[in-house]
């Protein structure tokens, strides 16, 4: 347990230090959310409708920005060998790194999202749905993104391939996540939130095994 804690704390520290990926993801998310209304215009009715979709897409892209170095930085400087020889099975190592990624990107993005939604004039009653969908959905982003990061860890400029691999897999999260917020705006009952939770749960359970297999392959190569 202390090995798990040590690894998560180390990754959080690396992500939040100067030059870390956490601030980068947050700044990117905020920049997209601020810039978009300039392009769409000031019609609050339009902005209120597209808020969920825009924030969801911005959150996915921002989280991906921080994902490509998830294993690659440790692979390049040799730390990944040392971590692989540690007491934790690689599956648990991968889960720890996904957890740290979520704590430094998914969680802050979720917390920042109501502020951004304010810029779009989102219906007040849709805020709980926005928060809940991002909190749950970003778990899926960290988990599935981790598979992509594992597959591309030895590829130079693997960050270019990562979105191509991962974005199609994340489309259900965007559909259900934004759908849950839209249903909340209209005050309609919707299964989107439940489907999103099921999707995220499956991703969190399955991804560590897939990502660990990918990392193992790259270490041996």
């Amino acid at each position: 347990m202390s090995a798990w804690r040590a690894l998560v704390m180390r990754d959080i520290r690396l992500a939040t230090r100067a030059g870390g990926s956490a601030m980068l993801a947050l700044a990117f998310f905020a920049a997209v959310a601020v810039l978009l209304p300039f392009g769409v215009g000031t019609d609050l009715k339009v902005l209120g409708r597209i808020a969920a979709g825009v924030l969801w897409v911005a959150a996915v892209l921002a989280a991906l920005l921080a994902l490509d170095r998830l294993f690659q930085a440790d692979f390049e400087d040799g730390s990944l060998d040392l971590i692989a020889l540690g007491p934790l099975p690689l599956e648990v190592v991968v889960l720890a790194k996904m957890t740290a990624h979520w704590l430094t990107t998914g969680l802050p993005l979720t917390i920042l999202s109501p502020l951004m939604a304010l810029l779009f004039g989102l219906e007040p009653r849709a805020y709980p749905a926005l928060l809940a969908s991002l909190a749950v959905g970003t778990l899926a982003i960290s988990a599935i993104g981790g598979i992509g990061a594992g597959l591309t860890l030895s590829i130079r400029r693997g960050g270019l391939i990562l979105p191509l691999l991962v974005l199609p897999l994340l489309s259900p999260a965007v559909i259900f996540g934004a759908g849950a917020v839209l249903a909340a705006i209209d005050g309609l009952p919707s299964a989107a939130m439940g489907l999103l939770a099921a999707f995220a749960f499956t991703a969190v359970v399955v991804s560590p095994f897939a990502a660990a297999a990918a990392v193992r392959l790259n270490l041996a190569g």
């Binding site: 690396l14 400087d77 040799g78 730390s79 060998d81 040392l82 020889l85 007491p87």
Partner: protein, 205 residues
């Protein structure tokens, strides 16, 4: 440190990138022994260390550890828990100070060593809170040596342990290996230079 009785390598073959690097390799090191692996660049020294560590799989052959109790460890994942690794990459993080990195590895590996005492043993006590970017290549190597010590693992695999070190650093490596072996540990070192300690030699063609 759980002491090991021996490390046994049998009929090992390694293929990388479709090229046969070596085959029919065998060696046996008893507890307290040091094996140095010599050979030209590209002869497979690093590959051999990675095979022993279980980080990569051999084309053929086995690597086995025997514990003092008579137990046998052949599974790569179990073997990994006995290995202290010093790779040719330092594995140091630019964003963390030496003390932070060492604390992380001590906690991660579950070692019981005193991190600050270990840092002063390798001559880094004045640099313990400096950002890594101000450390020289030799100082990073010393940090890697400190990490090896706090890992508390019985089988040390050392890839070019003398690279980038000054004269005093080289004698430090010899001292650390000597102390490790005296305590019943095993060390395998891939090196171009003599460590200055009695050892068995394995030459890769």
């Amino acid at each position: 440190m759980a002491a090991l009785a021996s490390l046994e390598i049998e009929n090992l073959a390694c293929v990388r990138g479709g090229r046969l690097v070596f085959r029919g390799l065998g060696a046996r090191v008893e507890g307290g022994g040091l094996l140095t692996v010599e050979g030209a660049n590209g002869s497979g020294k690093t590959s051999l260390l990675r095979l022993i560590a279980g980080l990569s799989m051999p084309q053929q052959g086995t690597v086995r550890l025997r514990t003092n109790g008579g137990g046998e460890i052949a599974e790569p994942e179990d073997r990994a828990r006995h290995i202290g690794w010093l790779g040719h990459q330092d594995g140091v993080k630019r964003q963390l100070t030496p003390l932070e990195q060492l604390r992380f590895f001590a906690e991660f590996y579950g070692g019981t060593a005193d991190e600050e005492a270990t840092l002063s043993r390798v001559g880094l006590s004045t640099a313990r809170d400096l950002p890594i970017q101000y450390l020289s290549a030799g100082q990073k190597k010393r940090l890697a040596l400190a990490r090896l010590q706090v890992s508390g693992r019985p089988l040390w695999l050392l890839d070019e342990p003398l690279a980038a070190l000054d004269v005093e650093g080289k004698s430090l490596v010899a001292d650390l290996i000597g102390a490790h072996c005296a305590a019943g540990g095993i060390a395998v070192a891939a090196t171009h230079e003599s460590l200055g300690i009695a050892c068995e030699r394995l030459h890769l063609a």
